[in-house]
């Protein structure tokens, strides 16, 4: 669209101002988080609402990392998120492949089943899941979280993987089979290398989702040594509700992996959100 070229200068300025406003709106809360985290404790009240801190310190980060359990929470969350992402990507890749490459009876039924699991309130199953996990003796275990999160993310990830497989012409696989491959060889030598970016994007989306899940973690994890980051941070907030600097430093730490993965999946946001349709 070439509209910008012939619009009057005032409109151009207006456009840039609007863009600037959106950027400021998006970044300001994160900036604030970082600002308080870097403000020395003695200045928090005097500097409280000033836009710039008058001095900077890394003391809050040091305290959070070495004087609290945050490293353990962080580690637990990384295990859960990576485990979920890996398991989901594997299972969803297989399912997405089936959706993309086969026409079979019952396909619509399975798709409907996946959509249904996306539509009902997840909190509906929090009590039954708690009882089942308790009965299996898996409360306070990261494994139970990984299994539950994997199930939650499969429908979305399956549709995402399907869209990536749909982008690879079926001819390529068939050519490989004519060249002497079994279906598995064709997958490994031709399809897999081409779908690596898609697999990476799926990993990123699922990691981000698992990293921020709160309710099931709260319900299923009550012991300190298996807490994930959100659970740990909330209990930290209720325990130390006066130590602003440390809480915000912890918040900044929670932000880091998300931002890393975000940079990684940025290119695929459109594909991810449009194929997920209902997933946030």
């Amino acid at each position: 669209m070439a509209a910008l070229r012939r619009t009057p200068p005032l409109a151009v300025v207006g456009t840039y101002l609007a863009i600037l406003a959106y950027v400021a709106f998006a970044l300001f809360p994160l900036y604030w988080l970082l600002k308080i985290a870097l403000t020395p404790e003695r200045l928090i009240y005097s500097d409280g609402t000033a836009l710039w801190p008058s001095a900077l310190t890394l003391e809050n980060f040091r305290a959070v990392l070495f004087a609290t359990d945050f490293l353990a929470y962080f580690r637990n969350s990384v295990i859960v998120s990576l485990g979920t992402a890996a398991a989901t990507a594997l299972i969803a890749a297989a399912a997405g492949y089936a959706f993309s490459r086969f026409a079979f009876r019952g396909k619509r039924l399975v798709i409907a089943l996946m959509l249904v699991t996306q539509m009902f309130p997840l909190l509906m199953i929090i009590a039954p899941i708690y009882k089942i996990v308790a009965a299996l003796g898996l409360l306070n275990s990261l494994t139970s979280l990984i299994i539950v999160y994997t199930a939650f993310n499969i429908p979305f990830a399956t549709f995402l993987m399907q869209s990536f497989f749909d982008g690879i012409p079926k001819d390529l696989e068939e050519a490989a089979m004519m060249d002497g491959c079994t279906r598995l060889q064709a997958l490994r030598k031709v399809i897999l290398p081409l779908t690596l970016p898609g697999l990476g994007a799926t990993l990123g989306f699922v990691f981000t989702a698992a990293w921020s899940e709160l309710f099931f973690a709260l319900m299923l994890i009550r012991s300190d040594d298996t807490m994930t980051f959100p659970v740990g941070l909330l209990s930290f907030v209720s325990k130390f509700s006066v130590d602003w600097g440390q809480m915000m430093a912890a918040g900044v730490l929670a932000l880091v992996p998300s931002c890393l993965f975000f940079a990684f999946i940025q290119r695929y946001l459109v594909q991810g959100l449009t194929s997920g349709a209902v997933k946030g």
Partner: protein
């Protein structure tokens, strides 16, 4: 080297039947072209031979062995796809040698056949490139090279030239003909372009709507089409087909012109090249509408009042103008007759 036999092969998707009663023998070393309009089932038939599509009913035999349940990789057949289906992440050399890589031939053994194929196809200097850095024609050659390196019992081609421009298409057509002469391998070639079919085929199979219409050499199809569909599909420009009615001593056109022929005929066909121009008053009276001068020939589009348009192809450059009245004289022994169902009838001359 391979003989193929299809016995009463059928194919349906869900409830819809897309191929019926396909009976066909393909001899060892033969070049068979499947031709027909888009959607008639050519690709489906080819893919069933390849093993990429299941066979709903009937049997496929290659060298006498039943193939219905044999996976593609065990059929020893190579296929060139319309989209070329080059592996985008592999170099030209690796694309061509991929079948040997799968068979675990060592790198050193692969080089010979790949280089040889690259040389014949003029791809020698592109071996290290990725497919996306090639032109359409070069990609097409790589696809062929991949099939050649495979050294199969038979080659299958699915509209391999349809993505090329006219000049390249003519060049590659010749290349494929040469390849067949050099290798002598059985080839099955799908196209919707009847020129490709006529120029390449030992035998042509004309398909329409899931049925075989006729099987024969190009000349047989041209001279003795089995029905109206084949008559109008084969040959360029298309055969003229005119409605006729029975009369006391043969047939007549709607304008009353009498013609010889069997009384059961409802249409006659005459190829443009079998019509001569005469002075007004001779033959069938017509008016010239448009003349396309091609140099060696001229296409004279005429209108027979009360009958409809008709095309005559005249050698050289006749001295006529649009609007002129002319007489059209069909060569009587090149008239084709079709009954109400479209089936060809033996004419006077046969």
């Amino acid at each position: 080297m391979a003989e193929m036999e299809l016995r009463d092969v059928r194919k349906s998707y869900g409830g819809t039947e897309v191929l019926r009663n396909i009976d066909l023998r393909i001899g060892d070393g033969e070049f068979v072209v499947l031709v027909g309009p888009s959607g008639c089932g050519k690709s489906t038939l080819l893919r069933m031979i390849a093993g990429l599509e299941s066979i709903t009913g009937g049997a496929l035999l290659i060298d006498g062995a039943e193939m219905t349940d044999v996976p593609p990789r065990a059929r020893d057949i190579a296929m060139v796809f319309q989209s070329y289906a080059l592996y985008p992440h592999m170099s030209v050399a690796r694309n061509m040698g991929f079948s040997m890589e799968i068979r675990r031939r060592p790198e050193t053994e692969r080089r010979g056949p790949v280089d040889a194929a690259a040389r014949t196809l003029g791809l020698g200097s592109f071996l290290d490139r990725l497919p996306r850095a090639l032109s359409g024609g070069q990609r097409q050659r790589v696809a062929m090279g991949r099939a050649i390196v495979r050294d199969p019992k038979a080659f299958l081609f699915d509209e391999p030239l349809s993505n090329l421009d006219a000049a390249l298409r003519a060049e590659m057509r010749l290349e494929i003909a040469r390849l067949h002469q050099r290798l002598g391998t059985t080839m099955v070639y799908v196209t919707h372009d009847q020129v490709e079919a006529m120029t390449l085929a030992d035998r042509i199979v004309v398909l329409n709507g899931g049925d075989i219409q006729q099987v024969g050499t190009p000349i047989e199809l041209y001279e003795r089409p089995a029905n109206r569909f084949v008559a109008t599909f084969i040959g360029s420009p298309t055969m003229n087909v005119l409605e006729v009615a029975p009369s006391r001593d043969g047939l007549r056109l709607a304008d009353g012109t009498p013609l010889p022929g069997p009384g059961t005929a409802r249409h006659i066909g005459i190829r443009p090249e079998h019509i001569a121009l005469a002075k007004p008053g001779e033959g069938i009276a017509a008016t010239v509408e448009v003349i396309e001068r091609l140099g060696s020939d001229s296409n004279v589009h005429c209108e027979i009042p009360g009958v409809g348009p008709i095309l005559a192809r005249i050698r050289g450059n006749p001295d006529i103008r649009p609007g002129a009245s002319v007489g059209l004289v069909p060569e009587k022994d090149h008239l084709h007759y079709f009954d109400a169902s479209g089936t060809a009838l033996p004419g006077m001359a046969m």
